[in-house]
Assembly symmetry: none
Homo-oligomer: 371 residues x 2
């Protein structure tokens, strides 16, 4: 039997234009080979898991479990699976922009091989994420722990890469707490599950849209291009479209390509205001403290205090401040007084307004808003 993706990519010219918002029907390695270098912002990959299932599995009441026994999930050996993985990862690395990131999802059957090969290919793991399934399939035989999670790896191209991470958006999504590496999300079922013409599930391992939603919201910007080399029923494309991201899918099986096209065509993008996420302070334009002094918002000569009124500093005409013999920037003086290695002067220093202390950061926000 011919296994998936194990034919050598034919030498053929690379397209210069990215086939944006479209599905490439064909072998994932051959089709990736046609895409230009450093051209996509993110790759999301849900490769075959190489499940190595034995015989049929029966439920306690007698029904047979509808296992994933498709040909595309079968490999002769671990070495064959490794070769396949190495090949598609090499293409993925070539296509990915230097500041782009790659996500790969898998189960214990394959994720340890994929993870080691990612590291071998010099990808830099940023996090491993556990998708904790809210409603997993029980272990019918009672022989192991219920396999209730899958693992995702999030990697940059190297240690120094400046990847996208929308920290504030993730924090907002998690009730104002940092988003953790364990995500509790339901499996894909009900009306979200794509059915074929006969009413059966169109794909054995369709991923929930909520999973892709979180990934794309966290690690891409609107307009970014996401490549999914194992497109299946097009979950990545549907969510990308909804969130105003561009997408490219690669899929070998014609039946999947068909349902994916229909599905994405039926997906409506959110309107732009709904796509808003909490802005990262790091992406806001810089304001020099001196500007607030010049504009009279914090006149030279006024007093700054820390929140506990332990120190008070006077503002100089040039935007530097002075306190207890120290003078310099709001940050440097704050750090020196506290004996700390660094200090954010914007949140450390306050001004008295209507009997209440207000951080000077609030004045900066006013300034940015043009007030």
């Amino acid at each position: 039997m011919e296994s998936p993706g194990r034919s050598r990519p034919r030498t053929q010219s690379r397209s210069k234009e990215l086939p944006i918002d479209s599905i490439l029907e064909g072998d994932c390695i051959a089709e990736m080979a046609r895409l230009p270098d450093k051209s996509v912002d993110m790759i999301f990959a849900d490769p075959p898991y190489n499940l190595q299932l034995g015989g049929d599995l029966f439920r306690p009441e007698g029904g047979k479990v509808d296992a994933c026994d498709d040909d595309w999930d079968k490999f002769d050996s671990l070495a064959t699976y490794d070769d396949f993985t190495r090949e598609w990862l090499a293409e993925a690395r070539r296509i990915l922009k230097d500041d782009g990131t790659i996500w790969v999802i898998g189960s214990y059957h394959n994720i340890y091989r994929v993870g080691a090969l990612l590291q071998d290919a010099e990808f830099w793991i940023l996090n491993d994420i556990v998708w904790r399934k809210a409603n997993p399939m029980p272990n019918f035989r009672g022989t192991r722990f219920t396999n209730a999670h899958e693992t995702l790896l999030w990697c940059a191209k190297d240690e120094k890469a400046r990847y996208t991470f929308n920290y504030r958006a993730m924090k907002a999504l998690n009730d104002d707490l940092q988003m953790r590496s364990d995500w509790v999300l339901p499996i894909c079922s009900g009306s979200e599950r794509v059915k074929d013409d006969a009413g059966d599930k169109a794909h054995p391992t369709q991923k929930p849209e909520s999973l892709l939603y979180r990934i794309l919201l966290a690690c891409t910007k609107p307009g970014d291009v996401v490549l999914d080399p194992f497109f299946g029923t097009g979950t990545t494309g549907a969510v990308a479209r909804r969130l105003g991201r561009k997408w490219i899918g690669i899929e070998r099986e014609r039946s999947y390509v068909k349902v994916a096209r229909q599905r994405i065509d039926a997906t409506l993008p959110l309107d732009e205001s709904a796509m808003t996420v909490m802005a990262d302070k790091r992406s806001q334009p810089r304001v020099a403290f001196g500007l607030l002094v010049e504009s009279g918002m914090v006149p030279a000569g006024s007093l700054l205090m820390d929140s506990k009124r332990r120190w008070s500093a006077s503002v100089n005409a040039d935007g530097s401040i002075a306190c207890e013999g120290n003078s310099g920037s709001i940050h440097k003086v704050g750090a020196t007084l506290q004996g700390a290695p660094s200090c954010n002067g914007w949140t450390f220093w306050h001004v008295e307004l209507e009997d209440k202390l207000q951080p000077i950061d609030a004045l900066r926000q006013k300034h940015l808003a043009g007030l």
Copy 2:
């Protein structure tokens, strides 16, 4: 510098007797080489993670993170780490009984290499278990997802092995539900943390007893022998003794050996009735508002209103909401609008469903019920 365990085991006679309930002071590979074939029922291994940390890391308030920067965690390259891992795994496989199992714990830094090498050595993965930390260290710089879990691999010697799994005990421990592959447990802190004479933590990476408790209860029988080749402060020995299992520890650092001996000597075996006391409380799943947005229950762009329709807020893609120039969490915006110090957004905000206003808390309940 000579790294741990990388010296070749000297050819020396193997003991015929197992050194039951004792600590072998020495290099883990050399000491394992002296143990007889197929002699232990379980191996629990907590090897170096090879963290590859850079410079110092400071907390927002100025404190310095006490990193694990010990020499025993430093390896020259991934290849060196792989060689080390291959060697101790080969000894582990030799020592393990044919129906015994091995557990290995790690983080994303090392677990993918360990997992792949376990498979290469023909171990058969039974489960990967996620230890979800109830109280992980935050990501202080806001650059990644909070690294809130570690991974354990549970393997038999081959596909056909008849390993021990105490299904009923696990189910009982989990409120009569099948024990899942994700375990929520607190990190080791407080009085459980072993201190040295100076009152500092004796070991940088001590594991919680609750973790070992669950593992030993699940996968060994009373009287079984558990080998821990990276014994540290002896958590495995202490829990084994408490649960009536036999143990062997290998540890190179004399200071760890000393505290481990004291600790285990002070541990009393539990009588059976007391053993269930350690069962952990189940954690109430917390639902973030963002989850309802991700899952499409409250799509981005929809409108929220207070019960008197005085204000209406629009939902952003990240689960934050916006109203009259304020944006933030459902709680924060509700509080700001009312001029209140705090606000329960779940009961304050409503959605219109079938011409009736319904608090979003009702949707949360639906979500919790799996609808």
